[in-house]
Each structure stands twice: as structure tokens, then as C-alpha cells.
Symmetry: C2
Subunit: 198 residues, 2 copies
């Protein structure tokens, strides 16, 4: 029996995985983007890196079986299973307060960048600048001319990905707080997701 935790809408969580442990991330409502980071437990400056992953895959997005590698090209996670259509994003950075101000928000707005820093601080790690994350379930359609867009996730309620740790690592998850564009569904309303470690 594996405990399943709720990651509340707009919030983040950090956790340690030992090599061989599995993390399942469940898109409870099907419409929520989950930003995912992985840092080496031995040296948090070594982190899962989307450019190095793309170089590993020769593809923009991971498929089941693919290794996710760090900025030192070491395997840190493996995408073991994915019940969704496999539409995830590796191109766009996490949202941050500057971005919300650019989009017209005044004052504070929750962001994946803040969730990253706050979640890491909860396990006594200080890191102010999040690396570019794996944006699970994020739908960034790419046109033939290289133009990008942001669309609602193409996943069903209950869709989930299973990641296995390839090294002892620290995972940070953020249920993206974006509520301006349909990043998190056509209703622009961030929702809870769930996760479990085994």
C-alpha cells in the first residue's frame, strides 16, 4: 500500500528519493500542469536539464523508457510509464513573479519559481534560481515555422506518470498557479494533483 499525497492547487512540495524509488504524479482533474525538478542529493548544483535531455533523446519530449539526465549528463530519473498522451513541455521556463507582472498582475502572485524556493527551504536547501523544469502535462504546440503557443493540457482526469530515481535525488513539484492563460485548463483555474512515492 502506497500513501498518496495531495499537492494542493498553486503549491509546491520537495521530497528526497533514493535510487530505485518511484514517484507517481497523478493529474487528478486532467487539466493541471506540474512543474518537476530533480536535483542530485550529493550536489544540488547538478540538476535535471532539459537541453541535455533533448540531446539524449533527440526529441523534444520524453517517452516511457527514456532517461532524464542532468547538466553533467548523468541519469537522474527514468520515465517508466505515462498514461497520458505524452504531451509535456521542455521548452518554457517556470512561471515567476516577473512573468505575472509582465502579464499585468499587480502585487504578489503565487508562482512555480516561488514554490521551488519555498519547497526546497522546507527541507533546508537554499536555491534562489530554479533550473528550467520538466513541465508535466503542459501543452505547448509548436508550428512548422517554429512559433510556440500555450494550450490547455491534453490529458484525462487520473492520468499519471511514473518516474524512477536513477540516483539519490531531491524532487520538487509545483502545481502551476497560472490562471491567466489556459495553461491549466480552459477554465484557467489551477487544481489539486496527487503524488505517491514507493
Amino acid at each position: 500500500m502506497t500513501d498518496q499525497f495531495t499537492l494542493q492547487a498553486r503549491t509546491g512540495a520537495a521530497m528526497r528519493l533514493r535510487r530505485g524509488q518511484h514517484l507517481t504524479i497523478v493529474n487528478t482533474h486532467g487539466t493541471q500542469v506540474v512543474d518537476c525538478w530533480a536535483l542530485s542529493a550529493a550536489d544540488p548544483a547538478e540538476h535535471m536539464s532539459m537541453p541535455h535531455c533533448r540531446n539524449q533523446w533527440y526529441r523534444l519530449t520524453p517517452r516511457p523508457g527514456d532517461l532524464l539526465v542532468t547538466n553533467l549528463r548523468n541519469p537522474i530519473l527514468r520515465l517508466v510509464a505515462d498514461s497520458s498522451p505524452g504531451i509535456h513541455d521542455t521548452l518554457i521556463p517556470c512561471c515567476d513573479l516577473v512573468r505575472y507582472h509582465q502579464l499585468g498582475i499587480k502585487g504578489h502572485h503565487a508562482s512555480c519559481a516561488e514554490n521551488f524556493t519555498t519547497a526546497l527551504r522546507s527541507i533546508a536547501i537554499e536555491q534562489r534560481l530554479p533550473p528550467p523544469p520538466l513541465n508535466l502535462f503542459m501543452n505547448v504546440p509548436l508550428k512548422a515555422n517554429g512559433a510556440l503557443a500555450v494550450a490547455a493540457p491534453d490529458s484525462k482526469p487520473g492520468d499519471h506518470v511514473d518516474l524512477e530515481a536513477e540516483m539519490d535525488c531531491i524532487i520538487v513539484l509545483s502545481a502551476c498557479p497560472h490562471d491567466i492563460f489556459p495553461v491549466n485548463g480552459a477554465d484557467c483555474t489551477p487544481k489539486d494533483v496527487a503524488y505517491a512515492v514507493r
Copy 2:
């Protein structure tokens, strides 16, 4: 009159630009990839960031007039002019020794990662891990299914880009030493390029 410097094949260079200065990078032979980094002079942890640039452009690659922004979303450079067909890469990390070992090289091989660290050290800055660069002239064709490839540059001898500094910054250039795939032309032979600051 502006002095033009040769950046020898397989080597790197670091330089300081004040806001408003221009850097021209000339693809002398038309076949050479030039990895380009920009770091804030005030805080080298703030650096030109391809994910943030893509979010700024809503496109994979820059066009003349586009701002290049940092991981804090501040403008650091502007692509003022580009005489090439505009095929540059923002998806792939710089080459490093681990990558050459993966490709079968034994022992040492020059790399853009080593050039980055060495060039910065020449101006008394220590940074061991290069951020993902703007790979000028690098041709990474992307298929509709998201698959990537690496092809020879699609530029002519003498093609050049002109970058203007939007903040005081440190630029690092590396004439990519890759000589296994046709990254640097069909003859897989790295070549000199040139640059000028005004």
C-alpha cells in the same frame, strides 16, 4: 574603424560589453557553429537563458529586433541584425567532454564547456557549469513528430550576426570543436570565425 579579432577553430573567448556596445560575430567560412553566452556583469549567476528567451519570443529562434533575456527575464542582448538565413539553435546544450566520451572519443577532446570555463577564467571569473547557450548558426532540424537531428549550418561564408548589449555583461564565445557529426559543416572540420566589438 573597428578591430576584428579571429577566434581560432576549437577555442573560446570572453569579453566585457557595456550597455549599448555591439558585438558582431562573423561566420568566416559559413560552416562554423559559435556557442554564445551572456552573463550579467553585476551578477554572473544571472545569464542569458534560452527557455526565458523562447517564452519572450513565443518562437524557437530569434529574429532581428528580438530581445534576448536572462533567467530573471531582464533584457541582456538584442539581435540587431542577421545576414544568415536565421537558423540558430536554442535546444541543445554545449558539447562537453562527457558527450565526446559518449560518442567514442578516448581521453581529452576540446569542448565548448571547457572553452567556456577557460575563457571566463582568463577574465578572473570562475564558473564550472555553462548555462545552455545560444548556438549561433547551429542547424537542428525539427520534425513534426518532435524528433531532432543535427545538420550542417545553412549559412554562407561571411554571414554575421550583430548583437547589442542591453546591460553591462560578459560574453563568452566558443568556436565549437565538434568534429564527429556535421555540426560544423559536412567536412566535420572546425574552422576559425571572427568577431568585432564597437
